[in-house]
């Protein structure tokens, strides 16, 4: 594989070539106490030094003296809201003549810089869900096709990260156009697609020292991970634990608030509702993020199937870690740790698996 090098001072060259391919460039920014992806304005630079401290139910940003732009590990969201917006109009109906029309959306070509390996693994799962059937989701597809992805290898893990144990990180292996490895003074770059390669061709090659440094820091990110899921397929453990007391113990803490499913980069459940004009002349059908932690999610023919929190947590957990194998050929967990950090009461999925496993 060809590896290129771009000094930090020359990063604008990469931005310039990306601007030829993308109308919008999204980069990480510190906003309201978290790293979020937001549009890069012309002339604006990515802010250096931000890193975060994460723990169960805890996320705080701190500004360091480091020149690095990607010292942080994860933010509350990454690609999910970009390819699958929290709320979107699907179609409209006019009462006059009863006519239906889809709601068109213009999707600008978007380059996103700073995507992590776990986010790429999650994106490939969302692709399977939204595009893998006989009836691909057209709204998802147009947004997905508009993406140019610049990934970043993690040089650091947060305390909540466990992508090593799920096999999804910390370095990007698939699903990107360009991947960066950030060093103090610049970036080692590699391409993951033909269009990525074409953009990198003009850059100079990375030297041995730069390549060794970039490899070492991935090892450092690996060694920083303290949480893990067991290496084995969890289906048999979970299937024999369906009647375990553990679910009630979790329900005593769980708020059924749905924060975990909202931040999970692979959770895709949604609800649909119609919003009619007050005069009743037309109505728009909306799709919005829902959660298996709501009553309405399991409301069928007058009955809420999962009326208790214990059964809702069990549903999320068994679907994510066991039933996804049947549906999508792998577990639905990519080890990003967001459900741990963003749970208001700090419920830790890795700890709950360990508890079921008798540890």
């Amino acid at each position: 594989m060809d590896l290129y090098y771009l000094p930090r001072s020359g990063f604008s060259q990469l931005i310039d070539v990306l601007r030829n391919h993308a109308e919008t460039i999204m980069v990480p920014k510190a906003q309201d106490g978290a790293m979020v992806f937001s549009e890069l304005d012309p002339g604006e630079e990515i802010e250096a030094g931000w890193q975060e401290v994460q723990d169960a139910g805890r996320y705080s940003l701190e500004k360091t003296e480091s020149p690095r732009w990607f010292k942080w590990a994860t933010g509350p969201q990454a690609l999910k809201p970009i390819v699958y917006p929290p709320r979107e109009a699907l179609w409209r109906v006019e009462k006059q003549g009863i006519t239906f029309e889809s709601v068109p959306e213009s999707v600008p070509a978007t380059a996103i810089i700073g995507v992590r390996a776990c986010d790429l693994a999650a994106l490939s799962l969302l692709d399977k869900h939204f595009l893998g059937s006989q009836f691909p989701d057209t709204a998802y597809k147009s947004r997905r096709d508009s993406l140019f992805i610049v990934a970043v290898d993690c040089a650091r893990s947060a305390a909540t990260c466990f992508c090593v144990s799920t096999g999804d990180g910390p370095s990007a292996t698939q699903g990107f156009d360009i991947a960066l490895s950030e060093l103090e003074d610049g970036f080692v770059l590699r391409s993951g697609s033909a269009r990525g390669e074409s953009l990198l061709k003009g850059f100079s090659r990375a030297n041995e020292r730069q390549i060794t440094l970039s490899e070492k820091q991935v090892d450092q990110a690996i060694s920083m991970q303290t949480r893990q899921l067991p290496a084995q397929d969890l289906r048999s453990l979970i299937n024999k634990s369906l009647e375990s007391d553990a679910w009630e113990a979790i329900a005593a803490r769980c708020l059924s608030c749905g924060n975990c499913t909202s931040v999970c980069p692979t959770c895709f459940c949604h609800s649909e509702s119609a919003l009619a004009e007050l005069d009743g002349s037309s109505s728009t059908q909306y799709r919005e993020w829902d959660s298996c932690f709501t009553q309405s999610h399991s409301y069928i023919h007058g009955i809420v199937i999962r009326s208790e929190t214990a059964t809702r947590y069990r549903q999320w957990f068994t679907h994510k870690l066991a039933n996804w194998h049947e549906q999508y050929g792998r577990s639905g967990c990519v080890g990003c740790g967001r459900c741990i950090s963003w749970c208001p009461v700090g419920i830790d999925i890795t700890q709950e698996v360990a508890t079921l496993n008798g540890n």
Binding site: G33, G57, P76, L255, G258, E288, T294, W342, P344, V345
Partner: protein, 260 residues
Amino acid sequence: MMKPRLAVHKFTSCDGCQLAILNMGEELLTLADLVDIVHFAEAGPVEPEAQVDIAIVEGSVSTPDELERIKRVRENSNCLITIGACATTGGIQALRNHQDSSQWVSDIYPQAQFIQSLNTSTAIREHVRVDFELWGCPVNSRQVKAMLRSLLFGVSPIDEKSSLCLECKRQQNPCVVVTKQEPCMGPLTRTGCGALCPHFGKACFACYGPSETVNSHSLVKRYQGFGVSKEDMIRRFNHIQNNAAAYKESVINIARNFDE
């Protein structure tokens, strides 16, 4: 076809929820085309005893007169909808339910004999059958329009009762509990407001009332860890929606178990 007839009745309240109707702008004219607004004192028409298809009730029952009046409203309407915290749970004024409020009256007013007031402020549901309740303090125009449109279509309005967190996350507000250790009531509060307070970095104060699942024990324990005092925690439940069953129960549990 005759247009459906609509009345808006006021009980003990601040009138703020009626503004959700008055502030609809141009759509208020649309509404006036769709229904006959026969009684809505704050907007003009006054015919409190009129027979109507839809009665919207704002405010709680807190006077002897209101005890009788709500019965007549019920008799005169096909469908009775409550709007706002006062009508659905008794409102902030239900705080007096736990006190000797007649003593307050004589302490405050020089001629207390002119004040006709019950010792309690209670929800409309405690007096008559209610067909649908719109939660919030105050309710907003979006809720009122969706409710009225559903009724005009002849379907049940949607009861928005999942946790505020879901709406807050849909707006992609970084969580104030996780980033700032703010004792936000969002996980125990129903959606409907559009996550207004967290959107501006403030903790939710539960003005929309309990969500469908209220695990206050777990959340209170968490906030105790942030250093929130027992009194502060009780106040967060004993607020606008203090008379809502799930919050009342939470207060009892905090009073009993906080120091464990």
